[in-house]
Amino acid sequence: MITATASIPESAQERMVAPSRFGDVIFRWLTLVMAFSVLVLVILVGWQLWRNSSLAIHKFGFHFLNTSKWDPVAEEFGALPFIYGTLISSLIALVIAVPLSIATAVFLTELAPMWIRQPLVSLIEMLAAIPSVILGLWGVFVMVPFLRLAVFPWLKKTLGFLPLFTGPIYGVSMLAGGIIVAIMILPIITSVSREILRSVPDLQREAAYGLGATRWEVTRIAVLSYAKNGLFGAVVLGLGRALGETMAVTMVIGNTPQIVASLFAPGYTLASVIANEFTEATTDVYLSALFEVGLVLFGVTIAVNLIAQLLVKTFVNTSAGAVQ
């Protein structure tokens, strides 16, 4: 019983080239190096920022963070107005964006009829795809005039007894910056919250429905209270984005380094001072101070993102575990 292939002088087995471990080893190392390039990137960013800001760190020390004089001519640099501006604009953004985003996420996962969900999600993704500079353009030419002419005077008239809504109205202002940042972080908070709510096990909902609860009661009792840690993570993630928003804010916040109570007054943020002054920084100390502003911004966003990722990941993992 000679096999059919015996008539061919060379069998297929012999024609195939001998395998070599070489290709596997090289390919594995290549992909490993590429994968670890993200670690290299983190280190690279930290190192560049640290190295280039060492002059300013040396000269101003801790006072860089708690003095508010920013005077390039006298070479005196304190970043407090920018830290203040970043925090306040982000806070305004969160106050506006968090309720809207979470309500939208609840609507998308719990309340909306099925046919409307996917189109809505697509629209929110489209909002996320609008470049920051274009939102800034819209902010400068559409939103700011509208705020100046309609919204701010009304706020001043009705809530003027609060120090937040006093003083002259320019249009470009801390409040305008906060609103534009809010628009920018709406999609991310909405989509992460939606993911969080979707990972709530159905058992939770069924149990509440079983007790005769209405749709909203199910959402409130079974879903929202279960998901609150994860939702908090989504909010912190939004905060991380808000802190680093650059172009749109730069275009509407007014770019004035000052600390005043009124939200109608112009402000300045960490990111926008870099964007505005970096190419004008003529002296080494000035440039170094701007790098230190970058270092502060980097440190804060890394810390905030770290917390947010841990919150979100822990939540998604534990509730996925609960399903199994």
Partner: protein, 284 residues
């Protein structure tokens, strides 16, 4: 009594649903408003000369953004050269080789990097390339965008590669094919459509980035095809015109914005179309 209490609960549930709907509408509203104004302000200035002419100096009416449009594509080309191979191969490591612990760490780092403000990438690349070379350059701008793409593409390609059923890997290995050839010829080829989709999305995302280009590509009023000289980019040009005091430049900024948004949206829509047919094929 009991009956009316239940009715009140039903009404409350309905009210909250309506409130949530209102919130959803408010979230979507800026999208509609931005689009409306883009079309109203920008459409009239988008004409043939916008795509073919260089920017005119102050005071002269007309001109276009031809150099900025081409510059954006050149920057994206450099970014893709850096970001795509690194990102895809990194994703291959996560999907095909990495251990649970290493993968967790790398994914975590990617997610953190994706949260780094884009302006930071600008000053980092400024320190890394612009300072030693002593010149703003197209190369620096492309590198900055490429760095932003890497973590995006690593995460995306890992996800796409994990969608490839294990049966294909086993079938290839059972034929005595070496693992690296299996990965290149079977796994990557099977996932090609998804990878292309992800890369396009990442490109669309960085195409609109302005902050990382401010101190790297810097912008240029003229044509430049030299890697070592500053280059124009659409977002940079929009920014420069938007903060200028001239009405004609404002019109140009709107036109540029309309073109930029149309490009990114076209990619997004095309990709959505692609992914739909892909998930349909996988579901089958």
């Amino acid at each position: 009594m009991r009956e009316s209490f239940y009715r009140w609960r039903k009404i409350k549930s309905g009210l909250v649903s309506a409130l949530c709907l209102l919130c959803a509408v408010l979230v979507i509203a800026p999208l509609g408003l931005v689009f409306f104004h883009l079309l109203r302000e920008g459409a009239s200035a988008v004409n043939w000369s916008f795509f073919t002419n260089l920017p005119k100096p102050v005071g002269e009416i007309g001109g276009g953004m031809a150099n900025a449009i081409v510059g954006t594509f050149e920057l994206l080309g450099i970014a893709a050269l850096i970001g795509v191979p690194t990102g895809v191969l990194g994703g291959v490591y996560l999907a095909e080789y990495g251990s649970v612990r290493v993968n967790w760490l790398l994914r975590f780092i990617c997610d953190i990097l994706n949260g780094v403000p884009s302006i930071i990438w600008g000053i980092v690349v400024y320190g890394l390339i612009v300072v030693p070379v002593k010149s703003f350059s197209a190369l620096a701008g492309g590198v900055a965008l490429g760095f932003i793409m890497i973590p995006l593409i690593v995460r995306m390609s890992e996800e796409v590669l994990l969608l490839v059923p294990n049966g294909y890997r086993e079938a290839a290995l059972a034929l005595g094919i070496a693992r690296w050839k299996m990965t290149l010829h079977i796994v990557l080829k099977t996932a090609l459509k998804g990878l292309v989709t992800g890369v396009l999305l990442a490109l669309a995302r960085v195409a609109g980035e302005t902050a990382p280009l401010l101190f790297t590509a810097f912008g240029n009023r003229f044509w430049n095809h030299n890697l070592h000289d500053p280059i124009a980019a659409l977002p940079l040009q929009i920014f420069a015109y938007a903060i200028s005091p001239y009405d004609d430049w404002h019109r140009q900024a709107w036109a540029g914005a309309l073109v930029l948004v149309s490009m990114t949206f076209l990619v997004n829509v095309a990709v959505r179309f692609l992914t739909r047919s892909r998930s349909a094929a996988l579901a089958k």
